[in-house]
């Protein structure tokens, strides 16, 4: 059977992809409001805690005053990626109202937004790994734990990437439709004026 390359544009798959892109954006925005890691510090005379998020840090009142007043704003690329995801999700879900020529740029935009989120999320993860330490000494015990922000951000990346994959028009191998039954007449190029030869269809069976 002869095969030809075609592209699949399943409307239902595109809708699921668009919803996944939107869900990825919402999860990313939720992650910016949640703590990523928490450090509990126990002293002989008390305890303190310190949480790191995408917009800065939060701490118990006793160490709050000594915290850096202008922390690293890791949330900036995450929020930009979330906004791009929202825009591409809206374009994917409203694609029927858009001219066909916008389909390919929208598909590429979905991939760009999902990968931007993944790249920034992963690099923030590298920073968090460096702050992970558990220490025990006579002066203090430090325990670091992962908080819900990490899981929500990770899920946002996975969901957004899945959305980016689903909205693509992937090539599929489609079978060429079988030739029509009966006599097929081929018009030969550069043969004007000459005879046209009728050709029997082998698949017609029983006509001969």
């Amino acid at each position: 059977m002869e095969l030809r390359e075609d592209v699949s544009r399943s409307p239902r798959r595109r809708v699921v992809g668009g919803v996944a892109l939107a869900a990825g954006a919402v999860l990313a925005l939720v992650a910016t409001r949640l703590p990523l890691t928490r450090q509990d510090i126990r002293f002989p005379e008390g305890a303190s805690w310190y949480e790191t998020g995408l917009w800065g840090t939060r701490a118990s009142s006793d160490i709050g005053s000594v915290l850096d007043p202008s922390p690293v704003r890791y949330g900036v690329p995450v929020v930009v990626a979330a906004v791009l995801l929202v825009v591409t999700a809206a374009l994917v879900l409203g694609a029927r109202r858009l001219p066909d020529r916008f389909a390919a740029p929208v598909n590429v935009g979905a991939v760009l937004a999902a990968f931007l989120l993944t790249g920034s999320g992963w690099t923030v993860g590298q920073v968090l790994l460096s702050s992970f330490r558990n220490e025990e000494s006579a002066f203090a015990t430090v325990t670091t734990s992962v908080r819900e922000g990490v899981w929500v951000l990770g899920l946002a990346c996975v969901v957004a990437l899945a959305g980016g994959l689903l909205v693509q028009a992937w090539p599929v191998r489609a079978a060429v439709p079988p030739p029509e039954r009966g006599v097929v007449v081929h018009r030969l190029p550069d043969d004007s004026g000459g005879p046209v030869i009728p050709v029997p269809d082998d698949t017609a069976g029983g006509d001969r």
Binding site: R4, V7, S70, P71, V72, R73, Y74, V76, P77, A81, D100, R101, A103, A104, V108, V111, L112, A113, A114, F115, L116, L117, T118, G119, S120, G121, W122, T123, V124, Q126, V127, L129, S130, G164, L165, Q168, A169, W170, P171, H186, L188, P189, P195, V196, I197, P198, V199, P200, D202
Partner: protein, 183 residues
């Protein structure tokens, strides 16, 4: 031609990323009683002046190099498989997305640098931070990879139109001798 240029841009983006990760992202100079100056790459911290530790180059606590190296590897994979019959579409998907993954990683590093550089604006700064060559090269890598990613994408016309056959077209007409000619 367009696709070949894109392929080279993807490979160049990968090489620039690997080179940028090895070069200093930023320099920091501490103005303490004793001068301390060091530079940070995506993998290591290198002491330039100051009390020498065991080695004057040691592993950085934040390994920015990992996502950068993975992005570079994926760019190379995308470039290699662009013309593959089976994986060409996956390669184009990666070629579109991985440059933005690179942008996300470099942008996060930039956020760290911007925070450190805020210290320069104090009236009597204790630390002075300046960008390194690595940060600039990573920025160029992002642009080059993005251009490559765009150039290798198929425009809608290429998707829809079957390739035109070259030369004369010959049709094999089975059993033509058994049939009468029709004028």
């Amino acid at each position: 031609m367009r696709s070949r240029l894109g392929l080279f841009a993807l490979l160049a983006g990968a090489v620039l990323t690997l080179v940028g990760a090895l070069l200093p992202l930023y320099h920091q100079a501490y103005r303490l009683a004793e001068q301390l100056e060091f530079e940070v790459t995506a993998w290591n911290v290198r002491t330039i002046t100051g009390p020498q530790p065991d080695s004057d180059e040691f592993r950085s606590s934040v390994q920015y190099g990992i996502p950068l190296a993975v992005a570079a590897g994926l760019l190379v994979l995308a470039a290699l498989f662009l013309r593959h019959r089976r994986f060409g579409a996956v390669a184009r998907f990666l070629a579109a997305g991985v440059p933005l993954m690179l942008v996300g990683a470099v942008w996060t590093i930039l956020q760290v640098y911007l925070r450190l550089a805020q210290g320069n604006r104090r009236a009597d700064p204790i630390t002075l931070t300046s960008p390194g060559l690595g940060l600039w090269i990573l920025a160029i890598a992002c642009v080059v990879a993005l251009v490559g990613g765009v150039l290798v994408q198929r425009v809608p016309d290429q998707l829809e139109r079957a390739p035109e056959p070259e030369g004369p077209v010959v049709y094999r007409l089975p059993d033509s001798e058994e049939h009468e000619q029709v004028s």
